[in-house]
Symmetry: C2
Subunit: 341 residues, 2 copies
């Protein structure tokens, strides 16, 4: 008879809706393909349908505390509009929250998917023992979120956490946001595929070319598999991923001096291929990391020597993988109605 | 008979010590040249001497609440050691706080000079009406500080705010911190002089060469004066300053979504020469800025058009000059003992 909430994680590929108890226990999860190509109305219809299905099933035995929804875009908290939704045609500048509320006849909390994933990792994952953390989510794009003094940091318009659009190469690859050289252009799954195509076009590799022309799905995962199998060009691509992440993490560490930074999202499963480059960049580029780095074995055995003496305070900077995998966003969305202040 | 504190702002050039009342009224200010070349002990001696002088004078009529000291280096809050002090030979890894406390026989609060300047601007300057702000201080180096939810953001070791060591050019000019292409290498007074020398060496300018060989002090201020007089190469140098600041500010805006970012420090007096480039970069590089920018007239008439519709929420992102000038650090240091929690 515990209270429960309903969380929605709307990704570019899957739409997932779950009923979750206050203590973090999953009651039921519904997974649907996100019919992005069928248009915004269809996706919102499917979402509301699943929410109502779960609400009808569990409200007889438990109390529904609220509904939290994570969506891939920048949300204006005040208006509930999506300000940018690069991977969702027709969603930008649409009043998503009020549309959903009209259909459900109830209040919902709409939030950026990466902030929601950060909240999930804070609640039940890598960050459950820290009060302050930042997270980068590597997927089709690169999202971000922060928890400061135990609470999600929204910023004044709810737009904080856009680390995916931090510049890592001032004259780099153009980004959909209008900038050049954003982290997202080097560390997302789409960027991995683009860099592989660039390598093929430049004639740098035969293995990638064979893989791309073999008819199989040419994905970031396929390129990761080639890297694991020892293909040098595929390994070089993931070193570029790690370098871009390392540049941004070095700035985060220098700027915020948090105890924990978490890398999540689907493409984080290539951790082994890009993590060594992250730690190399961090040690070179962040004087604060050099002073607060854990012993090298905790980093996985990589990285140059520190430039300053390690801090005597004992508080270390931890860079780590997300623990909840693809469920971080779902649990984080379910958490939203539990922490309204 | 108001309570008062003593604040110390220790810069590379001047050592300033002031007695300040709780309401922000200055009782007395002592300015000494910082005898850095005479060694650490001499500077600490001069500092303690001035503190004692003021304490003796005002303690008969008012209550001394505490002593706050801003120093140019990274401070380990727990130990009171300076972790890095690029412009102060002999200060790194020295227990500055306990040395001062032994001489004064009382507790002092030691803090990074840029964080202290941020606190000053929050208390009595540009940020007095906001709860959240970040500040960049442009001097010999580039420092930074943040106020979040009304309080200085220290980070877990007190090392937060090192925006001067954010990478803006991954393969750029080497920095004393061990990184390459730090903001400090493009936006500090030292960087302005270096870029001018580079321009002279490349034969790009005759006006700069004449100025440099005229026997007068070849300073960032002299180069700024040339820019104001219309020298194209000097103007180009300040556009590089603005570009580097714009890249970092774009990331700050995308990451934190604060209402205010303040540019202070001595080199901020060249605002007119570098600010237009800041706003150009911001509009191109920050999707959050584009959505929250004030009308262009408030920026000073520069910048390309926004890429997304301005936010309807009415909350705007303000980028502005510091108001307290070189006194920001002094008032901020005096503020430190008033806000101990």
């Amino acid at each position: 008879m515990a209270n429960y909430t309903i969380g929605v994680d709307m990704g570019g590929t899957n739409l997932r809706v779950a009923a979750v108890e206050e203590q973090g226990h999953l009651l039921e999860k519904i997974t649907l393909g996100t019919q992005v190509s069928l248009g915004r109305d269809r996706v919102i219809h499917d979402m509301c349908d699943s929410i109502q299905q779960l609400a009808q099933k569990y409200t007889s035995s438990s109390k529904l505390l609220g509904i939290g929804i994570g969506v891939p875009g920048i949300i204006d908290m005040e208006t509930g509009m999506m300000r940018e939704a690069a991977n969702l045609p027709g969603w930008a500048n649409f009043p998503v929250r009020s549309e959903i509320e009209q259909r459900l006849h109830t209040h919902v909390i709409l939030e950026n998917d990466a902030k929601v994933a950060t909240l999930g990792e804070k609640w039940l994952g890598a960050g459950r023992n820290v009060d302050d953390m930042a997270m980068l989510t590597l997927g089709t794009g690169v999202g971000g979120g922060m928890v400061l003094r135990g609470k999600i940091w929204y910023g004044m318009n709810g737009m904080a956490g856009e680390f995916g659009h931090w510049t890592v190469e001032p004259e780099g690859h153009p980004c959909g946001c209008g900038n050049r050289g954003c982290l997202e252009q080097y560390a997302s799954a789409s960027a991995v595929v683009r860099m592989a195509r660039e390598a093929i076009a430049s004639g740098a590799t035969t293995v990638l070319t064979q893989a791309a022309s073999a008819g199989q799905e040419f994905s970031a995962r396929a390129i990761y598999n080639l890297a694991v199998q020892g293909d040098e060009e595929a390994q070089r691509i993931f070193r570029r991923v790690g370098r871009a992440l390392g540049i941004v993490l070095a700035s985060l560490v220098n700027g915020l001096n948090l105890p924990m930074y978490v890398i999540g999202g689907g493409a984080a499963s290539a951790w082994e291929a890009f993590a060594p480059s992250i730690f190399e960049e961090l040690r070179e580029r962040s004087v604060v990391y050099a002073a607060t780095a854990p012993t090298i074995s905790l980093e996985g055995g990589h990285g140059a020597s520190a430039q300053v003496e390690p801090s005597q305070s004992g508080r270390k900077t931890i860079i780590t993988r997300a623990l909840l995998g693809s469920d971080a966003g779902l649990f984080g969305a379910a958490r939203l109605p539990m922490i309204v202040d």
